[in-house]
């Protein structure tokens, strides 16, 4: 169901502005609309003090966000409410700013150092790989006083450049140089150049000029021999890890002491900022302010009473008389009983209904789990899913989306168990072996035709329900052509069913002429409003609607595929000679089938709601009710 909304107008003197905004913010039921440019009112511009305060608060909110993002979430036992926490009113901006000035430098410095160390920690293994590649070459070179070594790693396709480098270094250093090279893997050639320190500058210039990449090591390691460098790298890695752990501990200490304080003030600062920003939507005259907004109809009197008590009796709060067009713009809020709430998410996914529209949540809540159960229809799979869904709902109680999805699967699993008994299925055909007899219709052989008929009957019911809801909605919205189109479609379908009844001798032959007349009337009324193209579109639309009804056959078809996969799992297990291997094989195949059996029915049942059912009446286009309220 959708919440009935009323539009209220509040007019007060400018002196009452702050207290009115504060009261409305606290009450949190009014969605404030922009009237600053309407009905010959002026915009309510902030004075100089307010503008500065707005700017300060926005800056503080950004600083608080940045610090909170850096700090870890402390363990519950270390989070204690600091004594300086305000009791809702908040501390003055200057006090919060001063505290941030004290806290921010240390936190930011720690975060910066940690980032640098983490980057280094990631780079160290790369140096290690390089050094290991170069180490065998180092053995071939004697370590000499007054000589310099440069390491190069060259990609295989460019190895010819090494000869050029060799001849150039020999030209610079004469006989006092050595160049050794070795293939270190499929892609790389490593080279070490040894030359006198006196010509180091020229060699470096040559390498720079030729755009040769040298292996550069961290400066703590750069001066050491290859043998020492590897162990130095390991030491460096350990000391970096220790330093990062120290920083994390310090950040955790700060978080334990200050995170709650920062979060409390972030909310306070944001809420104060909201109370200033909302004024841009108000209109004003020289001495008064005017605000308008949507409020749930059952909260109108509470809003009036609260404002009269907290601001004053002279504040004018009145419910506005609205035209049909204005009412169409009302925001949409769901008011469904708790067990139906999880399904609201699925309605939202296809677009919120318009305010004057129909909320399909209760219908989805009935049909979606039912369809899921019809497709899955297995006691074993249903029970496994039930246990898994209950566990997921318990584990992720804090995450509303996961909790809602788990709840939907719980409903579906219950139906799956129920239909499992009706089909007599337990992990596919295993039910038969353990003496489970179908209560209604088994999914095998020609008996499956009964299930086909049942599924199509469900389709006929839901599509007709959708058409009737569409007609009711069109009548409510005074959309005459839409209403005629829905009714003529219903008449045409009734005639088609009548003809099928006559053809199958379910109805007497005397019904033939009246149903043909009804069919012609229905088609003509369907065609006329669309003009000449209606001759083509009208019959096509009828065919499409009949197709929508037949589409419910998927309830049987998808389930059948799952049954056969389960059957294959059991038979393959039987074919393997070894019992243990057979059981493992069957378990694996059942696990695969279970995953497919959960995913596929969920998607297919949802699709039937969105495509076949919703298209008959659901247009979307509503916008969500977002009251102006205190952030927690």
């Amino acid at each position: 169901m959708l919440q009935r909304m009323a539009r209220v107008q509040i007019i007060g003197s400018r002196g009452q502005l702050d207290s009115t905004v504060a009261a409305i913010h606290r009450l949190g039921v009014l969605q404030v609309e922009d009237v600053s440019k309407a009905r010959s009112l002026k915009e309510l511009k902030p004075d100089e003090h307010q503008a500065r305060l707005q700017e300060d608060l926005a800056f503080l909110a950004t600083r608080l966000d940045a610090l909170i993002q850096i700090l870890p979430v402390p363990e519950p036992e270390t989070t204690k409410l600091p004594s300086s926490l305000p009791n809702g009113s908040g501390e003055p901006v200057a006090v919060v700013r001063a505290q941030l000035d004290k806290l921010a430098p240390e936190i930011q410095e720690l975060a910066k150092r940690r980032d640098a160390l983490q980057a280094e920690l990631m780079a160290l293994p790369r140096y290690e790989i390089t050094l290991k590649k170069l180490a065998p070459l180092a053995v071939e070179l004697r370590e000499l006083q007054g000589f310099e070594t440069t390491a190069l790693l060259i990609d295989r396709p460019y190895r010819d450049v090494l000869e050029v480098i060799r001849s150039e270094v020999e030209r610079i250093a004469g006989a006092q140089c050595e160049v050794v090279a070795r293939e270190v893997d499929d892609q790389t050639t490593a080279a070490l150049l040894l030359y006198p320190r006196s010509v180091a500058q020229e060699v470096q210039a040559l390498l720079g000029q030729e755009n040769i990449t040298q292996v550069r090591l961290p400066k703590e390691i750069a001066g050491r021999s290859f043998r020492d460098a590897l162990s130095a790298l390991e030491d460096r890695k350990q000391s970096t890890e220790r330093e990062i752990a120290g920083i994390e501990t310090r950040l955790m200490q700060i978080a334990g002491r200050w995170r709650l304080w920062l979060e409390a003030h972030r909310f306070e600062v944001r809420n104060r900022l909201q109370r200033l920003l909302i004024r841009t939507r108000f209109g004003s005259t020289t001495h008064t302010f005017v605000m308008e907004g949507w409020v749930p109809r059952n909260k109108v009197s509470a809003l009036g009473e609260t404002l009269a008590r907290e601001v004053g009796q002279e504040l004018l709060v009145k419910e506005m008389a609205l035209t049909r067009g204005e009412r169409e713009k009302a925001p949409v809020a769901f008011v469904n009983p708790r067990p139906l709430k999880p399904f609201e998410m699925l309605v939202r996914l296809s677009g919120l209904p318009r305010y004057s529209g129909f909320d399909p949540t209760p219908v989805i809540a009935v049909f979606l789990p039912l369809f899921f159960g019809i497709i899955l229809g297995d006691v074993g799979y249903g029970l496994i899913l039930l246990v898994v869904a209950i566990d997921v709902r318990r584990r992720y109680a804090a995450n509303q989306v996961i909790r809602d999805l788990a709840q939907i699967f719980i409903y579906g699993a219950v139906w799956a168990v129920a239909f499992g008994f009706m089909y007599g299925e337990f992990l596919g055909t295993l039910g038969e072996r353990i003496g489970l007899r179908p209560l209604w219709m088994p999914r095998e052989g020609e008996k499956i035709l009964a299930l086909f008929a049942f599924c199509i009957a469900l389709g006929v019911f839901q599509v007709l329900l959708g058409l009737m809801l569409g007609a009711w909605q069109a009548w409510r919205e005074r959309q005459r052509s839409e209403l005629i189109s829905k009714i003529s479609m219903l008449v045409t379908l009734a005639a088609i069913f009548g003809l099928i009844g006559v053809a199958t001798h379910f109805l007497p032959g005397s019904f033939f002429t009246p149903t043909i007349v009804l069919l012609l009337i229905g088609l003509v009324v369907l065609i006329i409003p669309a003009g000449p193209v209606g001759v083509l579109l009208g019959p096509l639309e009828v065919l499409e609607t009949v197709g929508n009804m037949l589409s419910y056959l998927r309830l049987a078809a998808i389930g059948l595929a799952s049954v056969y996969l389960a059957m294959v799992a059991n038979r393959m297990a039987g074919l393997v000679g070894n019992v243990l291997v057979g059981v493992i094989l069957a378990a694996l195949l059942h696990a695969l089938n279970f995953a497919l059996s959960v995913l596929s029915p969920a998607i297919q049942s949802l699709r039937l709601q969105y495509v076949e059912f919703f298209r008959q009446f659901h247009h979307g286009g509503g916008h969500e009710y977002k009251p102006f309220k205190v952030e927690r």
């Binding site: 296809s350 677009g351 020609e446 197709g547 037949l550 056959l553 699709r607 495509v611 979307g620």
Partner: protein, 73 residues
């Protein structure tokens, strides 16, 4: 009718419609993802458009079932 021919006919009814559905869903799906990247609020419509061609394979399944059950004898 010969059982083999019945089986081939049923297989073709599902197989060909499945190919048609897969081709259409592939084309619509990729176009839909492009549209969603530009305009996320279209997700409801895109979901419906992607799901539309599935009816084809379901009708193919219905025809296959009719072939099996009514032509087998």
């Amino acid at each position: 009718m010969e059982l083999g021919l019945v089986a081939i006919g049923a297989g073709l009814a599902v197989g060909i419609t499945a190919l048609g559905t897969a081709y259409a869903q592939g084309r619509i799906g990729s176009a839909g993802m492009g549209a969603l990247a530009e305009k996320e609020e279209l997700r409801g419509i895109v979901l419906i458009l992607v799901a539309l061609p599935e009816t084809m394979v379901i009708l193919g399944f219905a025809v296959a079932a009719m072939i099996i059950f009514f032509l087998r004898t």
